[in-house]
């Protein structure tokens, strides 16, 4: 399944020059910083950096963008854990147990768990991608609208399970979200539920909706308190406890692996990365012998959500590289970057530039290690900032 000649060429491409590696740390840092601010998105950060792309060679540009993507996938977990505000829809599942851990003064462990799960998820996804990039691409192209509908309905039914015994409330919230998602113009251009406001013709914008639902609600919730954690000694940043959190991640290999596999699979589908964390969280909860602990600060909740969220990058990249189909905003901007170098993603690209595809995968595996170090330093420095 692996083209060994192309793999050797990829190693040569990456090893023959230090230039592709120059952009890795800046890319990860930009991704981390941008996504640590709720409301800013990966696609937005990638779009801002697009003017830089023509000044890089194609491989360097791809590595830069995947580094930003990798940093962003962990960055979303930071406000999710500390503020109960997911940096994007991809980190909603992380808030369920991450914020209760922060409230209990275990924010160091929670961030350590999120970082290690994110790194492991990405590594697992790219290893999988390295082995089965071509078969995955062939499978993804067979998925049509009926299959997408089934995946969406599956996602909706799983939402109902997330809040345990309140099945009707969960389903009602899902139905409400479904209707909110149809606000705007119909297929034939009739405005629905817009109150005559032109800005709603394209629907409810996702970023303001997330900021409003999570950030504004949390703002009102925090008004009566001075700090999320009142005890000063439990607010400190502690490197040892972050490392303990990172170590504890590997005490739940089943949750980690299940999240990584689910995330990779869903990342292949358009919009899949946004629900990967929720589906993985729901599955981890379903499989647990003590599901009532989820939502109260259980490490398995963070591991499940973060590993799936991070591994969805590998799936998204597989669809982008092999089919030339963006599965989300970030990969859509990457496709624009392809165009800047007069390259079109898709089966022909996979066939003719397999060495570059493998080089991107190998560099992404290296980025996982760098993300571990940079992410740890980022938490530590930001915590003292």
């Amino acid at each position: 399944m692996i083209n060994l000649a192309a793999l050797v060429d990829a190693v040569h491409l990456l090893g023959s020059s230090w230039q592709p590696w120059l952009v890795v740390v800046p890319g990860i840092l930009i991704g981390l910083i941008v996504h640590a601010v709720p409301g800013l998105t990966t696609s937005m950060a990638l779009a801002i950096c697009l003017p830089l792309i023509p000044y890089m060679d194609f491989l360097q540009a791809l590595i830069f963008m995947t580094a930003m993507y990798a940093g962003a996938l962990f960055g979303v977990a930071i406000p999710a854990v500390l503020l109960n505000v997911p940096g994007s829809a991809a980190a909603v599942g992380t808030t369920f147990d991450g914020f209760p851990m922060a409230q209990a003064g275990r924010h160091n462990e929670a961030l350590g768990l999120a970082l290690a799960a994110s790194c492991t998820g990405q590594a697992a996804a790219y290893l999988l991608l390295l082995c089965i990039a071509e078969p995955i691409a062939a499978f993804a192209i067979k998925l049509g609208p009926p299959e997408m509908l089934v995946v969406s309905v599956w996602g909706l039914t799983l939402i109902a399970r997330l809040r345990g015994r309140h099945l009707a409330r969960g389903l009602l919230a899902g139905v409400f979200g479904l209707l909110l998602g149809t606000v705007g113009l119909s297929a034939r251009g009739a405005p629905r539920g817009t109150f005559g406001i032109d800005l709603l013709l394209d629907g409810v914008p996702i970023v303001p909706a997330i900021v409003g639902l999570f950030a504004a609600a949390e703002l009102f919730n925090l008004v009566g308190r001075d700090y999320i954690v009142d005890d000063l000694t439990r607010r400190s940043v502690n490197a040892r406890r972050i490392l303990i959190g990172m170590r504890d991640t590997f005490r739940y290999p089943g949750t980690l692996l299940r999240g990584a596999l689910l995330g990779t699979g869903l990342g292949l589908l358009p919009g899949g990365h946004a629900i990967a964390n929720l589906l993985s969280y729901s599955e981890a909860r379903r499989a647990a012998k003590d599901p009532e602990r989820f939502g109260t600060g259980d490490p398995r909740g963070i591991i499940a959500a973060e590993s799936a969220n991070a591994s969805s990058e590998g799936g998204s990249m597989a669809t982008l590289l092999a089919l030339g189909i963006p599965t989300g905003g970030a990969t859509a901007v990457m496709l624009v970057a392809f165009g800047m170098h007069n390259i079109t993603g898709g089966p022909a690209f996979m066939r003719e530039h397999t060495d570059i595809v493998y080089a991107v995968i190998l560099s992404s595996l290296a980025q996982v290690v760098i993300l571990g170090v940079v992410g740890f330093a980022f938490i530590f420095v930001a915590g003292f900032g």
């Binding site: 801002i48 009602l172 479904l178 119909s186 009739a190 703002l219 009102f220 009566g224």
Partner: protein
């Protein structure tokens, strides 16, 4: 002390009603019904309504189950749980924060988001008890500069500003 709920008498039984929860769920389902009607009036064909009508009907059915849970016979062990009242002054602060946020949304496009954001942060800090002059002036100013710069750089649509990019909106 837990919050008390209004009690109604029905057939000799006393039933407590979780009014805030009932009102919240009613508002959500009310919007769903209104949205379904609006969509129907906009384009009354299957293509438009194939998902909206079933979803609105589902919302109505689910409402019956959720709303039923807002009524409990007084004295039963599985009541509404222990929702505690807000501390003195916190309710006023929450209402004030909501009002200020609404004012920011309304005033931003009119006077410019730089001025509106500055005043919003300053007023929120004051409302929440900050009294140090340096913090009251520096925090809003710094936040406004960063946010205005970022939005000016990022947004494809110009943000209405008072001091930057051509003066008053």
């Amino acid at each position: 002390m837990a919050l008390s709920h209004p009690v109604i008498s029905l057939g000799g039984s006393k039933i407590a009603v979780d009014v805030p929860h009932l009102a919240f769920v009613s508002a959500i389902v009310g919007w769903c019904v209104w949205f379904c009607r609006d969509a129907w009036l906009a384009q009354a064909d299957v293509e438009n309504l194939i998902m909206i009508v079933p979803a609105a009907v589902a919302a109505g059915v689910l409402y019956v189950f959720v709303a039923a849970g807002c009524f409990k016979v007084v004295g039963r062990a599985d009541g509404f749980g222990t929702r505690r009242p807000l501390h003195t002054g916190v309710g006023v602060k929450i209402a004030g924060t909501m009002a200020l946020l609404a004012a920011l949304v309304v005033a931003g496009p009119l006077v410019g988001f730089d001025i509106a954001s500055f005043v919003y942060i300053l007023a929120t800090l004051l409302l929440l008890g900050e009294r140090r002059i340096l913090i009251l002036l520096l925090a809003p100013a710094l936040f406004c500069i960063v946010v205005v710069y970022c939005f000016d750089t990022v947004l494809p649509i110009p943000l209405p500003l008072f001091f930057v990019a051509g003066g008053a909106p």
